[in-house]
Amino acid sequence: MDQNKNTAFKNLINQPYKYGFTTEIETEKIARGLSQDVVSLISEKKNEPDFMLEFRQKAFRKWNEMKEPDWSLLKYEPTKYQDVIYYSAPKLKKKLNSLDEVDPELRETFDKLGISLNEQKRLSNVAVDAVFDSVSIATTFKKDLAKAGVIFCPISEAIEKYPNLVKRYLGTVIPSGDNFFTALNSAVFSDGSFCFIPKNTKCPLELSTYFRINDKESGQFERTLIVAEKNSHVSYLEGCTAPQYDENQLHAAIVELIAFENAEIKYSTVQNWYAGDKDGIGGIYNFVTKRGLCSGKNSKISWTQVETGSAVTWKYPSCVLVGDNAVGEFYSVALTNNYQQADTGTKMIHVGKNTASKIISKGISAGNSKNTYRGLVRINPKASNSKNYTQCDSLLLGQTSRANTIPYIQVSNSSSKVEHEASTSKIGEEQLFYFLQRGIKIEDAISLILSGFCQEIFHELPMEFAVEADKLLSLKLEGSVG
């Protein structure tokens, strides 16, 4: 394309990150670095019972003996773990009795992010838990949820109020020593969300947690635990943003889901962490372990993710299908631009009979970015008559972006069926010329092509967020073909 157009394209790609502002607020931080003492200090600050302190210390010991994994296709400056601050919390003036008492600065921050903590202005049927740096600021609609018997609160509060529930389930799906990052998280996690849906209950609201990293030097380690008892149903959405800094910030989260007999958990993520600038400076390192256990018969866990942010993404939301007839699903759109790198996908482990899994992954790479789908489908010997369907589509924009698809398929019985389809296409100059010739602006053309490409995934998102996700993608990519 000619020079003029190239410039126009570049201006469009380099749309400023809308959420890159910083909130000025007094925080309480602890000294940099990680040690047994720091772990104890975090536990103490949070007034935790002994079992939590032990949980953390055990994890820390494991972490000390582990090495950061290097098998992914990601290349990044290693994090200096002793330079990270492991606890940072906005100084709260007093204990909050109601949402009206939330610090105006914080309320404004979340308003700017489009997350209203005001229940009157509630987004249609969504209860929000807002997490700012290491702590949960506010949870809306607690009362409405309590009426239905649903517990939705910060995990720190759950540890205090429902220690038995937490003790029973925490770390059962993702043991602390699962990998380097889970050991780290288990040692130092500061907050996150806890949801418990009692049996025979359909959660009356969409649950949502909104994570905001604000502090420049602190890592964010949240932990989410969702338990759906027999015959229950819940839909949960997670959103995230961070300010724009030149340095990389560490985010290592854990999400554990447990679905009992006939229970269904639908977990959706719209990830929009700061991705670094056009030259690849700054941005979040996102090392996340998410796993769901379908423990009961006919249980179902469905992951939907729209990954647009982060400088580096390392994330494989997985399902372990233990109960007979259990269903696991993974729907993903991963978009990378500039120098972003994503190594993401899923694991579907079939243990029970007649279990089924479905994987639909859409990767979009632009600029100089690298986008890898990595997925494991394992069908164990006793998982007879199980089936998997996998579809991985990659869309390339421009000449310098890259896409990889790395499937691992292990089938150990002969009655099961695994299907894998993959495609790579490119938004080419000729395709765009066709749109332009019909009088359609290049931005509109790309946005229409992308919506079409991602349609199957957006269908899976709760409605309010599908529209947002669609807009987000277009905004991030407009004009990145040159």
Binding site: M1, Q431, L436, Q437, I449
Partner: protein
């Protein structure tokens, strides 16, 4: 009207058009014929503003506006339509959405309000009926899995929808059997009116049996080397391109 003067065009470093002149008035149908590689398709893409073709000399005027520096979408809004020899497939994008976006983009460029999907559908169905096109093509993805004839018909539908005043149709007849050719020609004739003009790019005379041109030009080595009426086409058919040289 379209006025092309001394047009020189290169792609990469090769000069393809080497001083081409052409003038088309409203109500006229022109046909450009010529052997492969004579520059016919280059001419059509250059008028439409394809970014790979660079104008090194000369100018293209349309209704007193110079097109040389305009973007393809701006040219489209001025009434220039290019019917593609190989219309592109756009996976995941429904034909109806594509057509509506094109139509609304045009309305917007004229400072008019966009039309809502229901109103648009009504309007679109009229146009489809006019050219006898099956409504099932609305819900399918743009050109995906369309036969050669269906793709070409979809092009004519777009020309009708945008009500373009200059239709440049690049090898509309290629890949069509005689029945499909008749159907397409009929559709083109229905969309044409005396306020509009057509430039038909073709290899063979058979298209011209159905759409009667006022002028026939023969291209060779990036220039128009001979102009005449339909009898020139017939003579070419008999004697081949070597005869003109």
């Amino acid at each position: 009207m379209l006025q092309i003067e001394d047009l020189h065009v290169k792609i990469d470093e090769t000069e393809i058009l080497q001083g081409l002149n052409l003038s088309i008035k409203p109500g006229e149908i022109h046909a450009i014929m010529g052997p492969n590689g004579s520059g016919k398709s280059t001419l059509s893409k250059t008028i439409a503003g394809h970014p790979s073709y660079e104008i090194t000399q000369g100018k293209i005027m349309y209704n007193n506006e110079e097109l040389n520096e305009l973007e393809p979408d701006q040219r489209s809004h001025l009434g220039v339509f290019l019917g593609f020899q190989y219309p592109l497939e756009i996976p995941g994008v429904s034909n109806e959405d594509f057509l509506r976006l094109a139509y609304n983009s045009k309305l917007k460029s004229e400072g008019k309000e966009e039309i809502d999907p229901l109103q648009f559908l009504q309007f679109l169905i009229e146009k489809m009926n006019l050219i006898d096109m099956d409504l099932k093509f609305l819900n399918r993805n743009v050109n995906e899995g369309f036969s050669g004839g269906e793709k070409k018909k979809n092009e004519i539908l777009q020309m009708a929808l945008l009500d373009s005043s200059l239709g440049i149709l690049d090898e509309m007849d290629s890949g069509l059997d005689i029945d499909a050719l008749k159907v397409i020609s009929e559709a083109i004739n229905k969309v044409f009116s005396k306020e509009k003009s057509l430039l038909l790019i073709t290899h063979y005379t058979r298209l011209l049996d159905y759409i009667k041109p006022d002028y026939v030009h023969v291209m060779r080595n990036g220039k128009i080397i001979k102009t005449g009426d339909i009898s020139l086409a017939n003579e070419l058919e008999e004697k081949g391109y070597e005869w003109v040289v």
